[in-house]
């Protein structure tokens, strides 16, 4: 069976059928063909990867390499900073920032002759030398890509690829060699904690749901990754949807649920498309639906799109939305594992949590426990973004330090600037300063420091980030996303944002920090849901660790980072300005004018709206900001 066929294999009716298919597919891969994996992840789309893929297809045909080379369109490879990315197997050759013009040469030289094209290689930032193999690149070296690593090996829209790398083996093992209780025991023993943010022990959750009274139960995939700056779930769901689906089916079997839902964020069209394809293919092959693999276990799964509401990442709000209502959370005094969707026992887990399940079943809880810390086992996927050199999706063992992630993997601060803070946990998390760089990344350690793990956003900030502005940013975000049901969140966030606004405009007063702290305490204690109760975290941590910035804004009416518009002004550094006029053209208010030929330009502050266009466009550093 050619790996390129569009025909689906026959339906699998037993564990033996699956094993036979797997054997056939593995043999299909063992050719002397060269595999060209091109990243088609969402983050590579702005780089034009779609066109790159088309170009590869055309060139392979033109150079008549159809028998020798096989193009594999994959999900996210991780090093998004250097996209478009092409990985060539065998050999683990890593080409980055590949342009359309490079394609013929790659095929001619590397594929046909085995020659490496130097200019497409990654350069080691410390040694300056070129690196050929992906696993030797510093970005990848310290990672443990147990979950995300498979992205490179598969086309997410081909179930055969997933099966060829061992996919659905865990499901077969769970259905035919284990009881639901044994499965739950393994998950409990593994120490897996929810990857959605709260870090609740997954095995315990499954157990409670299994024991909850009721015949009809539900399992739900929370793919409503709403934290701004986090796209870890996206990379996983769009790059390897079957891994999530397999975990879901195993979980459903363990809990005793016959209906599942995947709730995908509206803003993730690729993830939505790929999980839909995966679902249909699994159904066709008998891995989903009635009598899975002949086990007599049924599971139907439907996919729902979110409507664009961050609050729907909260489990009860998500369930309300699944019931066709507005996404308003409700009190969780009775847990959702007892009364959830339609008041029935429901187990909701994050995308990454589900994807960890097949790994645990296949390799065992004891193996899983070898990675991580006492309280946090396994790996965690982060979207490492912001002022970092190597922006991308990283997967690291729990217990690795922030320093290692930011410097060894992330390559340090971009543009040679100085590290200031790292934010984890999205709007529910906190900003940690330099003194926490050696903090091991682990659920409890992050919480102790005032932040939280969250679903995976890790945003790095440098000296040009104003921490008061960051607090204001998160509150502005939450003000829009609050469902509006309860008073503390709806009214409290607004008042906090107003105070922060005033501070950033130089209208802050001494009593403002006290008031912010009082409001924070009320939101933490009396909000209806976690959106409200964690909303103060960015404020609390920035006051705690960056109080001097607040005081500069309040007492001196100064923004040390040069961000808050009301407190900064732009000016021309005459010695550096040759009068080229780039800034004159860029200025939307005609606030900059020529004075004479080859003379520095003049900036009229009264007309300046502080948009920063001149600052952005000047390559000579002739526009200053104070």
């Amino acid at each position: 069976m050619s790996a390129n066929t569009n025909e689906m294999p026959n339906k699998l009716c037993s564990k033996q059928d699956l094993e036979a298919l797997q054997k056939e597919l593995i043999n299909g891969r063992k050719s002397d063909r060269v595999f060209i994996s091109v990243c088609n992840g969402t983050a590579c789309h702005p780089y034009g990867c779609a066109q790159l893929i088309e170009t590869f297809k055309q060139e392979i045909s033109q150079q008549d390499l159809g028998n020798k080379a096989e193009l594999r369109i994959t999900g996210c490879h991780g090093l998004c900073e250097k996209g478009p990315i092409v990985v060539i197997q065998p050999g683990d050759i890593f080409y980055q920032q590949v342009k359309l013009e490079d394609v013929p040469e790659i095929l001619r030289e590397t594929i046909s002759k085995g020659n490496i094209i130097d200019r497409l290689l990654h350069t080691d930032p410390t040694t300056g030398s070129k690196i050929v193999h992906r696993h030797e690149i510093p970005f990848y070296r310290k990672q443990k890509r147990n979950i995300l690593g498979n992205n490179v090996e598969i086309n997410p829209t081909r179930i055969e690829d997933y099966i060829a790398i061992g996919g659905y083996t865990a499901l077969a093992k769970a259905l035919f060699e284990m009881t639901p209780e044994q499965i739950i025991e393994q998950i409990k023993r593994s120490g897996l904690r929810g990857r959605g943010g709260a870090g609740f022990p997954t095995g315990t959750k499954w157990e409670s749901c299994r024991h909850a009274p009721g015949d009809i139960k539900y399992v739900i995939v929370n793919a409503d990754e709403g934290d701004p700056g986090a796209y870890a779930n996206e990379g996983l769901l769009s790059g390897n949807p079957h891994s999530v689906l397999e975990g879901l089916i195993i979980g459903a079997y363990a809990i005793g649920a016959n209906q599942g839902y995947v709730y995908v964020r509206n803003e993730y069209p690729l993830a939505l498309a790929n999980i839909t394809t995966a679902l249909n293919q699994a159904q066709q092959l008998g891995l989903l639906g009635e009598n899975i693999l002949g086990s007599r276990f049924d599971l139907n799964v439907s996919i729902t799109r979110g409507g664009g509401a961050f609050v729907c990442g909260e489990s009860t709000a998500l369930m309300a939305s699944l019931e066709g209502k507005v996404g308003e959370p409700r009190a969780k005094y009775v847990h959702t594992v007892e009364k959830g969707l339609w008041d029935r026992p429901s187990d909701l887990n994050n995308v990454e949590t589900w994807a960890n399940v097949p790994v645990i079943i296949n390799k065992g809880a004891d193996w899983y426990r070898t990675l991580g810390t006492d309280s946090s086992k396994g790996t965690k996927i982060f979207s490492l973004v912001g002022k970092i050199s190597n922006t991308g999706l990283v997967e690291v063992p729990m217990g690795i330090t922030l320093r290692e992630i930011i410097y060894d993997i992330g390559g340090g601060i971009r543009g040679g600037k100085k590290f200031k803070a790292v934010q984890t946990g999205g709007p529910s998390g906190g900003c940690l300063p330099e003194k926490f760089l050696d903090l091991p990344v682990d659920f409890d350690e992050l919480t102790k420091a005032g932040s939280m793990m969250g679903s995976g956003g890790m945003i790095v900030m440098d000296e040009t980030t104003c921490m008061v502005d960051i607090a204001k940013y998160f509150l502005t975000f939450l003000e829009e996303e609050s469902c509006g049901k309860c008073v503390p969140c709806r009214e409290g966030i607004k008042r906090m944002r107003q105070i922060l606004n005033d501070i950033t405009e130089g209208k802050g007063g001494e009593e403002d920090i006290d008031l912010l702290e009082q409001l924070s305490a009320t939101l933490v204690d009396s909000s209806l849901c976690a959106l409200g109760s964690t909303a103060p975290n960015p404020v609390i941590t920035t006051i705690r660790y960056f109080r001097d910035e607040y005081e500069a804004h309040i007492k001196e009416k100064r923004c040390p980072a040069g961000v808050c518009k009301a407190l900064i002004s732009y000016y021309i550094i005459k010695e550096k300005c040759p009068g080229c006029g780039l800034c004159v053209k860029a200025c939307p208010q005609d606030a900059i004018t020529f004075i004479g030929k080859k003379k520095p330009v003049a900036l009229d502050e009264s007309k300046c709206i502080k948009c920063g266009a001149c600052y952005d466009v000047c390559k000579l550093g002739a526009v200053g900001r104070k």
Binding site: A43, A230, G235, G306, G307, G324, Q423, I459, D616
Partner: protein
């Protein structure tokens, strides 16, 4: 409109729990949620109009006003924010003389913001219709907008 809306309702078996999905399909079809379509859903499925209206006004994906020909999404995710996304938004607002969630008078552009599209590596990012624009800066805005008829 009647037939199209009925087809959408039937696709979901008139299931009340699928209201958000039904509205999304209607939004995809008409680029907004026409009042007549919502009333039809209410009458066909048996959900009070008030319960459809509250869902329609709760979720950002829905627009009760006709949208422009081109949908601009400016990412205001944290990663884009620290790279100056706010300035990009301001520049677009200035260029088109509209504020976010508004549509230009000639119905050409609707300006929306989104909190993270997953393009953090190329932030600040802007998406217009299906096309992504990365590494945006205020001086690039005009060029990008003129690409669209």
């Amino acid at each position: 409109m009647n037939e199209k809306v009925n087809a959408i309702i039937n696709k979901y078996n008139g299931d009340k729990g699928q209201l958000v999905s039904i509205l999304q399909d209607i939004q995809t079809e008409y680029y907004y949620l026409p009042k007549e379509a919502l009333i039809q859903v209410s009458e066909t499925i048996g959900i009070p109009a008030s319960r459809i209206y509250d869902v329609a006004t709760f979720f950002r994906a829905f627009s009760l006003e006709p949208r422009g020909k081109h949908l601009i999404n400016v990412c205001l995710g944290t990663a884009c924010h620290v790279r100056g996304a706010a300035r990009i938004l301001e520049e677009i607002e200035r260029n088109l003389a509209i504020k976010r969630a508004e549509t230009t008078k000639d119905r050409k552009f609707t300006l929306e913001t989104v909190n993270c599209m997953g393009c953090c590596a190329v932030g600040p990012a802007v998406k217009i219709d299906g096309e992504y624009f990365g590494h945006m800066s205020s001086d690039k805005v005009d060029n990008v907008l003129t690409k669209f008829e």
